[in-house]
Amino acid sequence: MSCVSGLQTDCEALLSSFQETDNVRFEVFAGLWRDRRFHTIFHGQTRPLEKNKFTQKALDLAWRYFLPPYTFQIRVGALYLLYGLYSTQLCKPKQKIRVALKEWLEIQRFQLDLINAQHYDAAYIFRKLRLDKAFHFTAMPRLLSFRTKKKIRETQLKEEFKELSNRVTRLITSDVLEEMMNVHDHYQKMKCLISIDKSQPDKALNLIKDEFVINIKNAILEYQQWQQNKMKSSSKAKDSEEMTDRKEGGTSQDSEGSERANALAKIKYKSYNAVAMASKSRRHRQVKLESSESGSDQGKVKSPRCKRSRERSQLTQKGNSLETKDRIQAIKKEVVTRNRRMPVITEEENSSEEDLPRPKRKRTR
C-alpha cells in the first residue's frame, strides 16, 4: 500500500466519523481532527519535492469530496478538511488547491446554499480560503499530458459519501410531479368539455387511471426508502467484513478462485430472482440501476478501493429484498470466512471471464 492510499483511508475515516456526528459545525470537525492529530499527516517528510507532491495529492483528494455528487455533510466536511490541510501544510510557498472553471460555478452555488442555510462557519471558512488565495484558478482539475492508458490510475472514492442520487430521482422531481398533475387536471377538464355529461368524462375516454400521479409519487418514495435501507445494510455488512479482514491479517491471497466465483454466481442468481419478484412497476428500474452501477466499477483494476467496492456492490445486490436477506446472509458468511482477500466478480453476466485473471495482477502490486 502506497502512502497515497493510506492518505485516502485516513481522510475517509475522518470524513465518515464526521458524517456519523450528523452535524456540520466546525467545532465538531475540529474536535475530530484534534483527536487524530491530523496535522501530523505532513510530518516525517524531509525532501521538499516529496513534500510538495504529497500535499498536492492530499488537497486534490479532499477537493474531490467537496464537489457533487457527495452529500451536503460530506461536502462541508471536505471543505473543513481542505482548510485544515491547506493551513497546516509544511510547504513553502504553500501548495494551492486547484479549481477548474467548470467546478467553480458549482462551488459558488454551494457557497450561496451555505449562506442561505445560515451555516456561517462553513461559509466563513470558504471565504477565508479565498482571501488567503488558496486557489489556483485553472482550466482542468488536473494536468493533462496525453498519458498512455496504463499510466492513468483512477482512485475510487468512497461510495457511501455520495448523495443518494440516481436517474429516478433526477427524472422525477417535485416540479415534474406538479406539472404532471396540472396536465392531468387540464386533460380531465378537456375530456369533460367534449363529453355529453359535462361533469364527468365519457367512459370511452377513460383511458388513464385517475390517481396515477399519486401512484408515481408513492412508488418513488418507496424506492427511496428501499435505497436508503440498502445503503445502510451494505455499509454494515462491509464493516463486519473489515473486522474479519483484520483478524486474518489480510495475508491469504487469491487461490480457489473458481470455487469462489461459483459461489458468487449462485448468490447472483438468487438475488436476480429476488429482483424479478419485486412489484411490476419497479422491476425494470431496479435491474437497470444495478447494472449501471456495476458498470462503473469495471476496468478500474488497480485501484485499491476497487476490491472492496466490488464486494460492497455485490452486497448491495444482496440487500435487495428482505425476504432473501437471511438466506443470503448465511451464504455470505460461508464465503466471507473462507477467504477475504479476493476480488469479487461483478454482477454483469459476461464479466466472469475478464475477472478471473485479476488476482494475478493484484499480486504484482
Binding site: R34, F38, L131, H136, L143, S145, F146
Partner: protein, 382 residues
C-alpha cells in the same frame, strides 16, 4: 479568425476524451470568463492583504457583527492544533493512529537500510531546484510586473529524437508561458541542439570551423495548433515550411480538412484555440520535430514568479546523457570522425584538445586519413 474551428465559441473547457484531453476552446475567452466569475481580490497579485475585519465578514455573509466576530474565533486554524507542546515536523510520533504515517515510517526505515548512494536525492534536488528557482520572484522594475488576470500556460516540449531507452519515458522540457506572449517568444526560447549544428567537413582546417550555426542560417520554423500552421516570417529569408505538408494533404484529399497558415509573430497564446492535453507540433531546421502538449492553463497567482522578463520560464528539463571524449573520457565530445585511420571505432568522438593532439602535428599538419565534423552534444543544455 484562424484557429477558430467549430466549437471555439465555448470557453469552459471540458473533456473530449476523459482524463486525456479537452475539447477545443479559445484561450483568451476562457481567461475572460474566469475573470468574470471572480472578484478583484481573487485576481490581485499584490502581497498586501487587506485587514479582514468583522464588518467585512458580516457584509459578505449577511450575518450580524457579533456572529462575525465569533466566527473568527471559532474557525481559527488554532482550533486544529493540538494543545500540547510543539513537535518537530521531521519526526513521526510513535503513537500516531494515522495509517499514512505508519506507511511513511516504514518506507523511511526501509530507505535507511537499503540506501548505498543517495543518488535519487541528487536527481530530486535538481528537479526541485528547477521547479522552484523562480517562485516568488518579483521584478525590480515595476513595469515588468505581470498584470493580474494574466494566464499561465504550461507546455511540455518533447525532444525530437526518441531513443530506444526512452521508449517509456519520453524526455521533455516543461516551459511556462504567459497568455499575452507571442508564439515567437516561445519559439526563440526553445533550445535544441539542431540549432547549434555546424555543417561541413573540417579535417584539413579545423580552426576554420564556421562561426555560423544552423540557427543563423535556417530561420524557418512553424507551430501547428488545431489545423493552423503558424509560420515564423520575421525574416525575409524565412521559408514556408508548412507548404509542402499542405500541398501533400490537398493533393490527394487525404481527409485532413482545410489546413491554414498564419504568421507566428501575429499571434499570442490568448489568440489561440486549442485543446489541453492534445499533442501539437513545433518544427524547425526543416525536419526537427518537437511534440508540444499544453498540459495546463491557469490564472497567475501572487506566489508565482511575477517578473515578465523571465518568461518563457523553463521549469523542468531532462538530464541527457553526454557523450564523452574517447581519449580522455572526461570532457564532452566536440568532434566526431569517420573513416579515421587513428581511431578504434567509427564514428569516434573527441574533445577539442584530444582531437588536435591526436590528429595534427605541432605545426598543425593533418596526420593520417579521416573526416572530421564538429559535434554538438545533446547534453549541452544540461
Amino acid at each position: 479568425m484562424a484557429g477558430s474551428s467549430g466549437s471555439a465559441g465555448c470557453a469552459v473547457p471540458e473533456y473530449e476524451v476523459p482524463e486525456l484531453h479537452t475539447r477545443v476552446f479559445h484561450v483568451g475567452s476562457f481567461g475572460a470568463l474566469w475573470k468574470q466569475n471572480l472578484h478583484r481580490a481573487d485576481l490581485s497579485v499584490q502581497e498586501a492583504v487587506a485587514e479582514d475585519g468583522a464588518a467585512a465578514v458580516a457584509e459578505d455573509l449577511g450575518c450580524g457583527l457579533e456572529t462575525a466576530a465569533e466566527l473568527r474565533a471559532v474557525c481559527s486554524i488554532d482550533m486544529l492544533k493540538s494543545p500540547d507542546k510543539e513537535e518537530d515536523p521531521e519526526i513521526i510520533s510513535e503513537d500516531s493512529s494515522l495509517i499514512t504515517l505508519r506507511i511513511r515510517k516504514k518506507a523511511l526505515e526501509r530507505r535507511e537500510e537499503t540506501i548505498i548512494v543517495d543518488r535519487t536525492c541528487r536527481q530530486e534536488t535538481f528537479i526541485y531546484e528547477m521547479e522552484s528557482h523562480a517562485t516568488g520572484k518579483r521584478p525590480k522594475d515595476p513595469a515588468n510586473l505581470i498584470e493580474e488576470g494574466e494566464l499561465f500556460l504550461t507546455l511540455n516540449i518533447f525532444y525530437p529524437v526518441i531513443f530506444q531507452k526512452h521508449k517509456d519515458h519520453k524526455p521533455y522540457q516543461t516551459v511556462l508561458v504567459l497568455g499575452s506572449q507571442k508564439l515567437t517568444e516561445l519559439r526563440d526560447s526553445i533550445s535544441c541542439v539542431s540549432d547549434l549544428q555546424m555543417g561541413g567537413e573540417f579535417s584539413s582546417h579545423p580552426d576554420q570551423a564556421p562561426e555560423h550555426i544552423s540557427k543563423d542560417l535556417y530561420k524557418s520554423a512553424f507551430f501547428y495548433f488545431e489545423g493552423v500552421f503558424y509560420n515564423d516570417k520575421r525574416h525575409p529569408e524565412c521559408r514556408d515550411l508548412s507548404r509542402t505538408i499542405i500541398e501533400w494533404s490537398e493533393s490527394h484529399d487525404r481527409g485532413y480538412g482545410n489546413l491554414q497558415t498564419a504568421k507566428m509573430e501575429d499571434y499570442t497564446f490568448n489568440d489561440l484555440s486549442i485543446k489541453i492535453g492534445f499533442p501539437y507540433l513545433f518544427c524547425h531546421q526543416g525536419d526537427c520535430e518537437h511534440i508540444i502538449i499544453i498540459t495546463d492553463i491557469r490564472l497567475v497567482h501572487q506566489d508565482d514568479c511575477l517578473d515578465r522578463t523571465l518568461y518563457p520560464l523553463l521549469i523542468k528539463k531532462h538530464w541527457l546523457w553526454t557523450r564523452k571524449c574517447f581519449v580522455c573520457k572526461m570532457y564532452t565530445a566536440r568532434w566526431v570522425t569517420n573513416e579515421d585511420s587513428l581511431a578504434p571505432e567509427d564514428p569516434c568522438f573527441f574533445c577539442d584538445v584530444c582531437f588536435r593532439m591526436l590528429h595534427y602535428d605541432a605545426e598543425g599538419n593533418k596526420l593520417g586519413e579521416f573526416l572530421a565534423y564538429p559535434y554538438v552534444d545533446p547534453g549541452t543544455f544540461n
